[in-house]
Amino acid sequence: MLTGGQEASVILLRLADHLPPDCTARTWGPALNGSLDRTILNERASVDAARRGDVQAFNELVERYQRLAYNVAYRTLGQADEAADATQDAFLSAFRAINEFRGQSFKAWLLRIVVNSCYDELRRRRRRPADSLEAMAERAEGTTAAERASTDSNAGPEMTALRSETAEVIQRVLDSLPSDQRFVVTLCDVQGLSYEEAASALGLAVGTVKSRLSRARVLLRDQLVARGELPAVTRRLTGEDVAAT
């Protein structure tokens, strides 16, 4: 990437300016539009129907959450096929375990199942070392295709999607993280969940999420600097943020 440095700094400037003050805003976007109550009511109805074995009702939930589930799986597994397998497994397990759902938030409950399903997939990958090598080799192409296919991404208006090459580099860097950290980063930073939501999805204490997240971010930052996606010396030393608060 010839103009990597320049491009990165442009992205940096743009994103830094538009980073929402509340990091949970992205995924809660629809809920914050005032339709929160209705969403939850609809969800309850679907869950109740699913409890009685109504697959169609459950599929409404699938439709609502499959994008989230697939993206969590993709970012943590770094491979489209495995992500699809893990997502499908998660929804199947969720349907079978729907009677165990007691919580307030179906999303939180589902995310936990998705995370477990991804961990299962990672374990399976470890059991077939040869296969994981193949997968790694295929990954470069797979990611390219997946990233390119996402040009119709519905990223929020304030968040212009990154160029696909940059997105690929970031995914590679994510892949290089220890898996526990990758899950935390995926939930908190890529999906924009709060510490509490991530903690419940991962079955961790909030403090653990915080510290894992900070370690992961430091590793990511160092790698991104090393790969020229972030300038080694930051160019925004104006202190405007300090003034803003």
Partner: protein, 241 residues
């Protein structure tokens, strides 16, 4: 985790500051520190930019719908394919057939020696060879008894080899002495060539008795083991087409 103006911010504080998740008082002093410390400010900005890049990752379109079929499959879904499920079974059956093959071959060797104990001298030259590279000549003999020797089978016959050898020594009284003083009259011939003539003689003698069963079990073992390899391959390629 309180912060004074002079203290640098640690990673976790910087990270929490990016998320605006420090306690209000701590946040205020952290901000104050950032205003005066270019190093921490640079760290903070880079961390913030990192988070910005991560949040800018595109939301990918799922490659397909994950809706469940109307009739959801039995409790344990067909995770992985049929081929994947068959792998352990074919592998076990293959191992069983290989073991059976070894048992049949060794039984034949034993009964062959039992029927014809008149040739202890003939087997004697084979003993010194069996002493040093113990398993190899015994394997050769088995391999010749039933031609289709596959690499997968080698571990099994190697384990069986001592059992094949031990009763032989007991049956031929000449053997122990020749073992201790390895054939002084024999010129230093290459062990394998010394072993082959009597071995093939044994095989020829007993060929007619048990050979079909050996061939059947041997082939069965090979086929099953190959099948298990094929299954695991297809299961793999199915997973990542």
């Amino acid at each position: 985790m309180s912060v004074t103006n002079s203290q640098h911010l640690n990673e976790e504080q910087l990270s929490s500051l990016v998320d605006q998740r420090l306690e209000p008082a701590e946040q205020a002093s952290a901000r104050a520190h950032l205003a005066t410390c270019a190093g921490c400010r640079a760290d903070y900005e880079n961390l913030r930019a990192t988070v910005g890049l991560l949040r800018g990752l595109p939301d990918l379109e799922p490659p397909r719908s994950f809706k469940l079929p109307e009739k959801v499959t039995p409790l344990r879904p067909a995770r992985g394919s049929l081929a994947l499920k068959l792998v352990p079974w074919t592998r076990a059956a293959g191992a069983l057939a290989a073991a059976l093959f070894v048992v049949l071959v060794s039984a034949e060797t034993l009964s062959g020696l039992g029927q014809a104990p008149a040739a202890p001298k003939a087997t004697a030259p084979a003993k010194p060879a069996a002493q040093a590279p113990a398993a190899a000549p015994a394997q050769d003999r088995q391999a010749e008894a039933a031609k289709p020797a596959s690499p997968q089978q080698q571990p099994a016959p190697a384990q069986e080899a001592p059992q094949v050898g031990a009763p032989n020594e007991a049956q031929s009284p000449a053997a122990p002495s020749s073992l201790r003083a390895p054939a002084p009259t024999m010129p230093p011939v290459v062990p394998t060539t010394a072993a082959t003539p009597p071995a093939s003689a044994t095989a020829q003698r007993n060929e007619t008795v048990l050979r079909p069963w050996q061939v059947v079990t041997g082939l069965l073992a090979i086929i099953l083991l190959l099948l298990s390899i094929v299954f695991s391959r297809t299961a793999r390629t199915q997973r990542s087409p």
